[in-house]
């Protein structure tokens, strides 16, 4: 279903944000409980990877400096 909503144009398009917020799915709404799925970050953990090493690799992924190829993202439905 598509809802078409007219809005008053202003430089920052603030009405767009307000409409998006109004229509955004809520977690506490039973009808939208399954709407939002973002695949978690799944990382290969070798036998010699201790917690510190895993956190370093995660930080590299989160802040975007190197080692991203080591992070595996599950391919669940989006």
């Amino acid at each position: 279903m598509v809802s078409v909503v007219p809005y008053a144009i202003d430089p920052d398009r603030t009405e767009v944000e307000r409409v998006a917020v109004a229509f955004a799915p809520r977690a506490d709404s039973p009808s939208s409980a399954q709407l939002t799925w973002v695949a978690p970050v799944v990382m290969s953990a070798a036998a010699d990877d201790d917690e510190e090493r895993l956190q370093q690799r995660l930080s590299s992924f989160d802040y975007g400096f190197g080692e991203q190829e080591e992070v595996v993202r599950s391919r669940g439905p989006s």
Partner: protein
């Protein structure tokens, strides 16, 4: 959005391969005369709680075999689990076998049997993507992660990301205070868990707060499972059951033999709330005649 949710998503993902899911909480060894892998095969369902997996699918190839709750096997049967899982993967090697577990001994045992190990990580980038996917405006996401709240670390826990998204989507001119969010969501989550059997929904939250205060007073960030299990639980629950409920609700994290709050601010927030809720004894005494 932990391992169980991920398995469910894998089971229902739109791929051409079939899938089956088994809850290992119901695991029991096969009968003495039966092959050990039958203990796994009989648990496989076409969907969670659904019909048994057809034999032609099991004997076929290319399906996803998803085994959940390997760390929740009855203690009496735990020694039989790894041999059964390993035998099933060897008997039906044409399928992809995925076994979910908390970081316990089972993980190391499965690695020794040749399974590759992956971990679900609490990621700030994931938190940002989640909030944006929930249509939270970028400015509010930035404020939540960095400026206003500084709760980026907490948002890596799906439970809190989910609830914060709701709060950020409310057009409330007064944004929630970090402490209110921190503590309020923990109590809300314990209330949901308490509905599953306790008479007083506050009891589990009070027990959780007592745990936080006790750890903080001792300068500790974790407790041994045995220590916690020896404590009396809230009304209607044993200490063991209370611990498991809080772990299931992601309010406590458990590694091998150790339990802790998933993030230090969760423990500290509960303590701060306990202090704020305590009447000032000096003020009370001065007001008394």
């Amino acid at each position: 959005m932990g391992k169980t949710t991920l398995l469910d998503r894998l089971a229902t993902s739109q791929s051409e391969s079939a899938s089956a899911i088994a809850n290992l909480r119901d695991f029991a060894p096969a009968a003495p005369d039966d092959p050990v892998e039958h203990a796994i095969a009989r648990l496989l369902r076409v969907e969670r709680g659904g019909d048994a997996l057809p034999i032609e699918v099991l004997e076929g190839s290319g399906a996803k075999m998803l085994l959940d709750a390997s760390d929740e096997v009855d203690d009496a049967f735990s020694d039989s689990l790894i041999p059964a899982v390993t035998a099933a993967a060897e008997r039906w090697p044409e399928h992809t076998w995925i076994i979910a577990s908390r970081p316990r001994d089972a993980v190391a045992a499965l690695r020794e049997q040749g399974f590759e190990v992956f971990r679900i990580m609490g990621s700030r980038r994931w938190a940002r993507a989640y909030l944006e996917t929930r249509s939270v405006p970028p400015e509010r996401v930035r404020r939540a992660m960095l400026d206003g709240y500084g709760l980026g670390g907490l948002m890596t826990i799906p439970l809190f990301a989910e609830r914060l998204a709701d709060r950020l989507l409310d057009d409330d001119p007064e944004p929630p205070l970090p402490l209110d969010l921190l503590v309020g969501e923990q109590y809300a989550a314990t209330a949901r868990e308490a509905k599953r059997g306790l008479q007083h929904k506050e009891d589990l939250g009070i027990w959780m707060r007592s745990l936080a205060v006790a750890l903080e007073l001792r300068g500790r960030v974790s407790a041994a499972v045995d220590e916690l299990d020896a404590l009396p639980g809230p009304a209607g629950l044993s200490g063991v059951a209370a611990r498991k409920r809080l772990v299931d609700a992601s309010l406590l994290a458990d590694e091998t033999d150790v339990v802790a709050f998933p993030r230090r601010p969760l423990q500290e927030g509960l303590c701060a709330r306990a202090i704020l809720d305590t009447a000032d004894p000096s003020r009370r005494s001065s007001a008394s005649p």
